[in-house]
């Protein structure tokens, strides 16, 4: 057992998998010499050499394209797109090429590609470095989308993603890099597509992702003091979504709230809400609610971030309204 930060959990996952399988390679901007723009690949160049850990030019299409071609020809590449906001530059390689190779060619090619990226939510960096776009990629059949909120989940899920023969978009959060957790030493593989009930409760099902998981847990303490027990579920995988775990919870509580850093229209919360409504309509005592920032880009500066984003207090309010 050791206490690890989220960032080190990610590094450890890659190190372990690269040690285990020679075909695992890492490509991206500043991943090699600098050990990652945010330190996310520290030490890997030294351990695995310049053939397997490679700095690329600022060419997002090529970063992903290199991954696609290598995955089709026997490698298990991890490619890094520094900020999720840059997905627009390489969406063709992700959505048209990577996601569809296995399908179009009737299973002739596997695509064991991991696209790691970071969401800059609430780092105050500005509108081109703050977006959480899981909906973009969740909407593409053939892709898997994973978004861990804790160090242990990050490690176990990244290892699973690397071993998965499908293209996996692995979304990290810069704001989570420093959080710590005890992680076991032995092999940790967390299955993709399985949600985690982070806290059990009987009154309201709160589905939270990324930064919102910890805030939901904090809200849970506040609410517990007034006799309201919320159940906090972290889906961990965006797609394929473990809707069964969520629905089972809603059957028990009859109320659901989805809290995300991503925005409301056409978002993850809409998907969860629609699925709950279809499967557990007759168990609902309240409409499913979504708690998100308002529908704006994120302006530069932390004061905006704090103002715009849901916090524990707003989660408490939202839950209380559901209980009213």
């Amino acid at each position: 057992m050791a206490t690890k930060t989220y960032l080190w959990a990610v590094i450890d996952a890659m190190r372990e998998e690269m040690s285990r399988d020679q075909n695992v390679i890492l490509l991206g901007e500043d991943v090699a010499r600098a050990g990652g723009a945010f330190g996310g690949s520290r030490g890997l160049l030294d351990s695995f050499g310049p053939l397997r850990v490679r700095d690329t030019p600022i060419s997002e299409e090529i970063i992903v394209g290199l991954g696609v071609g290598a995955a089709m020809t026997g490698k298990r590449p991890i490619v890094e797109i520094m900020f999720m906001d840059f997905f627009g530059l390489c969406l063709d390689q992700i959505a048209n090429q990577a996601a569809k190779m296995h399908y179009i060619y009737n299973g002739a090619f596997k695509m064991p590609l991991v696209i790691r990226t970071s969401a800059g939510v609430e780092m105050g960096i500005g509108p081109h470095h703050s977006q959480l776009l899981e909906s973009w990629v969740g909407h593409v059949p053939g892709l898997k989308v994973v978004m861990p909120s804790t160090p242990r989940d990050a490690k176990g899920l990244l290892k699973s993603a690397i071993r998965d023969d499908n293209p996996v978009v692995f979304i990290e959060h810069l704001a989570l890099h420093r959080i710590k957790e005890e992680i076991e030493d032995d092999e940790l593989l967390i299955p993709i597509g399985k949600a985690d009930v982070k806290r059990a409760g009987r009154d309201v099902t709160v589905v939270a992702t990324g930064l919102m998981v910890r805030r939901a847990l904090a809200a849970a303490e506040t609410l517990s003091a007034v006799g309201i027990e919320i159940e906090v579920i972290d889906p961990r995988t965006i797609s394929p979504l473990d809707i069964d775990t969520i629905v089972e919870s809603v059957r028990k509580t009859s109320r659901a709230l989805v809290v995300t850093s991503s925005l409301k229209p056409f978002g993850f919360g809409s998907e969860v809400s629609a699925e709950i409504t279809e499967r557990a309509f007759f168990d609902l005592d309240q409409p499913v609610r979504r708690l998100t920032p308002p529908f704006t880009p994120a302006p530069f500066g932390k004061q905006f971030d704090e103002y715009l984003n849901p916090d524990a207090a707003s989660i408490v309010s939202a839950v209380r309204e559901l209980m009213a």
Partner: protein, 317 residues
């Protein structure tokens, strides 16, 4: 590598017949979707691919049948795929723009102009890691040379000295627009210098010239000396797709190019240099004609894939 000249001719004729007869089928409304004809460009595919082994990779475009056949894809399953049949090489799911054969290194076509360039670099990168001298070839049109993916691919290929041969089939028209209107520099080969790699402009309708320049580029790549940009100047006889009224070019221009038909030229070369004779060549023509006809007939009799198969292979298990 040594290949019998007749073999080269036969390959080109197979492509010619394939394209001609598929156009006819399309005209008879037997062909699903669009058809993007390779007619007139046969020397490009055969010239380049005749330097490759099964192990080498080819990434194609939306106009890929020439590349598929030149790289050795079996005719019948390819034709069946064109008609969307269950017996097609991709189970009828890829169709005209998407055929692949991993055993022969054929890594698919593309519906996205320029979509193949980045992942071809990936295949080349993978080949470099393997260290066995494997080479990747990516075909693209001059239209794609103006796409962002071209620049990124050129740069990383040159910088990393990837074993990648970038073959630009400049058939002068990108979709329905003349390249001349879309580019200030009409010699694409010149762009290579800007990225730090060799570039060569070649008469794409001259099989021998294509084969030789292709051979040099492949050899360089195998030696680890990095990529080459080859610009093959050619012409497509058909429109961007069949049915395209081709208002953007003149009949005189079309006739001028048809007079430079790669097959006719090579045939003349074979006959003139006594490498073969008319009778033999006619036989080859006839064989190609009947092979293609048979393949088309067989395809048309073959079953369509069951609709439920659309649900398969979204994810690898």
């Amino acid at each position: 590598m040594t290949i019998e000249p007749l073999d080269l001719y036969a390959r080109m004729m197979l492509i010619r017949q394939c394209e001609a007869q598929l156009n006819e089928a399309f005209a008879k409304n037997l062909f699903p979707g669009y058809i993007h004809s390779y007619l007139g460009q046969e020397a490009c595919a055969v010239g380049i691919c005749s330097n490759l082994t099964d192990r080498d990779y080819v990434v194609s475009t939306h106009r890929g049948r020439g590349h598929y056949l030149a790289k050795g894809m079996a005719l019948k399953p390819m034709i069946a795929e064109m008609f969307g049949r269950a017996t097609g090489i991709c189970g009828g799911r890829g169709g005209e723009m998407h055929a692949a054969d991993p055993a022969r290194g054929i890594l698919g076509g593309n519906g996205i102009v320029g979509g193949g360039l980045p992942y071809a670099a990936g295949a080349a990168f993978s080949a470099a890691l393997d260290g066995r001298g494997t080479v990747a070839v990516v075909f693209f049109g001059e239209g794609a040379s103006n796409n962002g993916s071209f620049g990124e691919t050129m740069n990383v290929a040159a910088t990393w000295k990837l074993p990648l041969v970038l073959v630009c089939e400049n058939n002068l028209y990108a979709e329905m627009t003349p390249f001349a209107e879309m580019s200030a520099e009409l010699d694409i080969a010149k762009r290579a210098a800007g990225y730090g790699m060799p570039g060569e402009s070649v008469d794409g309708n001259d099989l021998i010239a294509v084969r030789e320049s292709g051979g040099r580029a492949v050899a360089r790549a195998r030696r680890g000396e990095g990529p080459t940009l080859l610009e093959l100047k050619t012409y497509r006889w058909g429109g961007h797709f069949e049915g395209d009224p081709k208002k953007y070019r003149s009949r005189e221009e079309e006739e001028w190019w048809k007079a430079r038909c790669p097959l006719a030229r090579f045939r003349k070369h074979l006959v003139d240099s006594r490498l073969s004779d008319v009778a033999t060549l006619d036989l080859i023509d006839a064989r190609a004609t009947s092979e293609v006809a048979e393949a088309i007939e067989l395809a048309l009799k073959s079953p369509l894939p069951a609709p439920e198969t659309a649900l398969a292979h979204v994810y690898a298990v």
